[in-house]
């Protein structure tokens, strides 16, 4: 009834190619973004900022990054944690050694550094595919973790190998309170998501998707696999690197290589699988699902007033979380983003479905 495009005529090419061709979608997304910028800071408490919103948003950037590589270009990667670590340690060293740099420049340069490393480890993708590539990227994960644990220069010779960041300023404004951090991350997320959305709709995105769907056919129609695959690796690593820098600076504050271990790689991979491969929206949904469900399950018994021992709560959390993953994959193998799309289809016919 409300969600129909009847009467919305596209009279220009621009209108036809808009990100959200249906005006209801446009209004909805604008409202959500406006609410995130203006409403949430008024309503949310500190816990919501630091443990719910900031981690979800940062990991959403990482998920978008991996989605570009795996979801759009079809190159399976298990090195996400390692590339996040590159971003985090690059940002740490830049901030430490060049304190006059603006923090946004630090984060972007950290992304560039991750991009270079990503390019290097993306080279094998020109020769190997599928599971074999996954194993090759796994090697990058272990190598990078090892490097940050062993090469003392990266951690500024900290005796324990753990690094801590100082106060962060953005053009003279301190980024200290959870709300300031949230707004900073949110701004970056909006920009990065918009850029990613446009990238995947553009020539380069179509190049990736052609390579994903059938690389030989893509080559025959004139797409160079080298450019397609390496550009996907580069841009994906850039996103992941920035996410890693944000994770270190705005989420953890102090970290050790263990914060970016293989589990982080799996976590981000599960996000895009649950959220939806080849979907920007799916990256957000997946990040929210993977980050929030365990926290939610962990607190549910105390909200409901069920007295359970701490250990029992943790065990139940693991079991229910696992069961939920299986459940969602069974009802919709294409991820939460696909569920959302089905929901929209239904909404068009509501309340008179045929």
């Amino acid at each position: 009834m409300f969600y129909r495009e009847a009467g919305q005529f596209k009279t220009t090419y621009n209108a036809d190619q808009a990100i959200f061709p249906i005006s209801q979608d446009r209004w909805f997304v604008t409202a959500v973004v406006l609410f995130a910028f203006l409403g949430v800071p008024l309503l949310a408490g500190q816990y919501l900022f630091t443990e719910v919103l900031i981690p979800v948003l940062i990991l959403a950037i990482a998920a978008i990054g991996l989605n570009i590589l795996t979801g759009y270009c079809g190159q399976l990667s298990l090195g996400t944690g390692g590339f996040m670590a590159v971003g985090a340690y690059a940002a740490y060293n830049l901030a430490l050694r060049l304190p006059e740099l603006n923090i946004i420049v630090v984060f972007l340069l950290a992304g560039v550094m991750a991009m270079l490393v990503g390019l290097l480890f993306g080279l094998p993708s020109l020769r190997i595919k599928g599971f074999y590539l996954a194993v090759a990227t796994l090697a990058s994960q272990f190598f990078l973790e090892w490097a940050f644990a062993r090469v003392k220069w990266f951690t500024n010779y900290a005796p324990s190998g753990s690094v801590a960041v100082g106060k962060i300023e953005f053009f003279g404004f301190p980024i200290e309170t959870p709300m300031q951090k949230y707004l900073f991350v949110l701004t970056l997320v909006v920009v990065f998501a918009l850029v990613a959305k446009n990238l995947v709709r553009s020539r380069i995105g179509r190049m990736w998707m052609a390579t994903r769907d059938m690389d030989i056919a893509a080559e025959i129609i004139g797409i160079r696999p080298l450019t397609a695959k390496l550009s996907a690796f580069a841009i994906s690593s850039f996103y992941i690197g920035v996410a890693g820098a944000l994770w270190g600076f705005l989420r953890l504050g102090a970290w050790e290589p263990l914060a970016f271990d293989i589990n982080r790689s799996f976590q981000v991979l599960f996000m895009i699988i649950i959220g939806g491969l080849g979907s920007i929206l799916g990256s957000f949904l997946g990040a929210a699902f993977i980050v929030l469900t365990p926290i939610f399950l962990n607190q549910l018994p105390s909200w409901l007033g069920i007295p359970l021992s701490t250990a029992a709560i943790s065990h139940i959390e693991f079991m229910v979380f696992g069961a939920l993953i299986v459940f969602f994959l069974i009802i919709e193998p294409h991820g939460l983003a696909r569920l959302w799309a089905i929901g929209k289809e239904k909404l068009r016919l509501w309340p008179f479905p045929y």
Binding site: Q46, Y47, L48, T50, E51, V52, P55, L96, A149, N156, P159, S160, G161, S162, A164, V165, G166, K167, E176, R251, L252, G253, A254, W255, E256, L258, A259, D261, L292, T293, I295, F296, N298, Q299, L300, S302, W303, S309, T310, A311, I313, S314, H315, F318, L324, I331, E332, L339, I342, G343, K346, P353
Partner: protein, 439 residues
């Protein structure tokens, strides 16, 4: 199709329940308790958590709280993971009428992360026997309390013991000492001090990292078999300890030459290796195993009423006792704060003052029922450690037995290192150290 949507909608509603926390009553002191009863480190985390919980219950049951202020505590399972630990801290820090009194992270990694948050939230961190070794410098780390011993103290005590056995520090010249450590901030902490001592007494230091969780150590012990170090120091936690001892048995490295830190010297570490662990040594965080005076009260007020969390037989174990001591130090910190600020629930800031001015004399320790277990502990603005003493204990196949006298960490070696590292940290983080009154 529509079934899918319905199912999804139900899931969303379930997931959308509000993120709110229930309120607590007024005359209560809330203490969060970060524990790990699950995960790879649970065998060691559980007894510690039980000890902490039982002591709080004892204070409530026996004394009706701290000067009439009841202790309310809530556990949150971190699984030893830093990000979950931070989440737990954020979840619990604001509870109770005055917020969290203090936080016990029970993980060096979580301690590092919370060190950045404590000054903002004004909640002191009690990291008894772990955490950053340089955080004992209270002028830089105002909110950290690595009470009773840091890793540098532990390493120094073990080296002193080894030197004594060899006949003096000068006899260490040319010897080989290997450090098998958990490859995390926890395991890396002692390296600085060991390197300093190695250059002072010209012994050779071998560094052998073991990756988390530490079940795979074949390569490490192969290196030990090849190089035959004179002593092996073990800086492990959880399953890594028992694995290390089993591997030592496999490569026939004498257990008598192995010295663990106090986190590698509990029952779960040696029992899996059975007879193989016989002769293995560990430093103590002052206390060892075995029940003592306090257990009479624990029995009477907690266990006989059926309120104990552990099994009665387990209350004499090393890590359980450590939990009890940790809780006692926190409670005494609150009590000290109450003397200054009044007998009501304390804020984190007030507890910080209480901890910094904590002074447990021998008489007070006896009164609390810890005689023979603890030595006097006195903190000050410049010294958040409070005591630097420890003994060596040895596993005889059945029990831990104290096998040495008291050693005191040599502050002429540790002190300058603390100053140097703390100053570096302060410079990196742009912290202005507070000036401590000369004591």
């Amino acid at each position: 199709m529509s079934r899918k949507i319905q199912v999804f909608a139900v899931a969303l509603v379930l997931g959308g329940a509000a993120f709110t926390a229930p309120a607590l009553a007024q005359n209560e002191q809330f203490i969060p308790n970060l524990v790990y009863r699950t995960g790879a480190y649970a065998p060691n985390g559980i007894p510690f958590a039980n000890g902490v919980a039982d002591y709080y219950n004892l204070v409530n049951e026996r004394d009706g709280g701290i000067n009439g202020v009841k202790i309310v505590f809530e556990e949150c399972d971190t699984g030893y993971a830093t990000d979950r630990g931070v989440e737990c801290y954020e979840r619990l820090k604001g509870k109770g009428p005055t917020g969290a009194a203090y936080v016990i992270p029970l993980s060096t990694g979580i301690t590092y992360a919370l060190t950045e948050k404590a000054p903002v939230d004004k909640i002191p961190i009690i990291s008894m026997g772990y955490g950053r070794a340089d955080s004992r410098d209270g002028s830089v780390y105002q909110w950290n309390f690595p009470m009773v011993g840091t890793y540098w103290t532990a390493a120094d005590i073990i080296l002193q013991h080894i030197a004594k056995k060899e006949g003096g520090f000068d006899k260490l010249k040319g010897k080989k000492v290997a450090l098998v450590y958990h490859d995390s901030p926890y395991g890396k902490e002692p390296i600085t001090l060991l390197q300093k001592r190695a250059s002072m007494h010209s012994f050779e230091l071998m560094l052998l990292p073991v990756t988390h969780p530490g079940v795979e150590q074949k390569a490490t012990w192969l290196q030990i078999r090849q190089n035959r170090p004179d002593y092996v120091l073990l800086w492990g936690w959880g399953v890594m300890n028992s694995t290390a001892i089993k591997e030592a048995v496999a490569v026939a490295y004498p257990r008598e030459k192995m010295y663990g830190v106090w986190w590698s010297g509990a029952e779960p570490d040696v029992r899996p290796a059975e007879d193989g662990a016989k002769g293995y040594n560990a430093a103590t965080l002052q206390h060892s195993a075995g029940q003592f005076k306090l257990h009479e009260d624990l029995k009477k007020f907690v266990y006989d009423k059926g309120k104990g969390v552990a099994k009665w037989d387990e209350t004499g174990e090393v890590l359980y006792i450590r939990g009890v001591i940790n809780a006692m130090l926190g409670v005494e910190g609150i009590r000290t704060a109450q003397e200054k600020y009044g007998k009501k629930p304390m804020t984190g800031e007030q507890v910080r003052w209480g901890l910094e001015n904590l002074n447990l004399t021998a008489a007070r320790i006896k009164q609390l029922g810890f005689e023979g277990v603890l030595q006097p502990i006195k903190l000050s603005c410049s010294d958040h450690e409070g005591a630097r003493t420890g003994r060596i204990q040895t596993w005889d196949g059945k029990n831990w037995k104290i096998t040495s006298d008291w050693y005191t960490g040599d502050d002429s070696v540790i002190g300058p290192l603390v100053k140097e590292t703390a100053a570096k940290y302060a410079a990196e983080k742009k912290i202005t150290p507070v000036t401590c009154p000369a004591s």
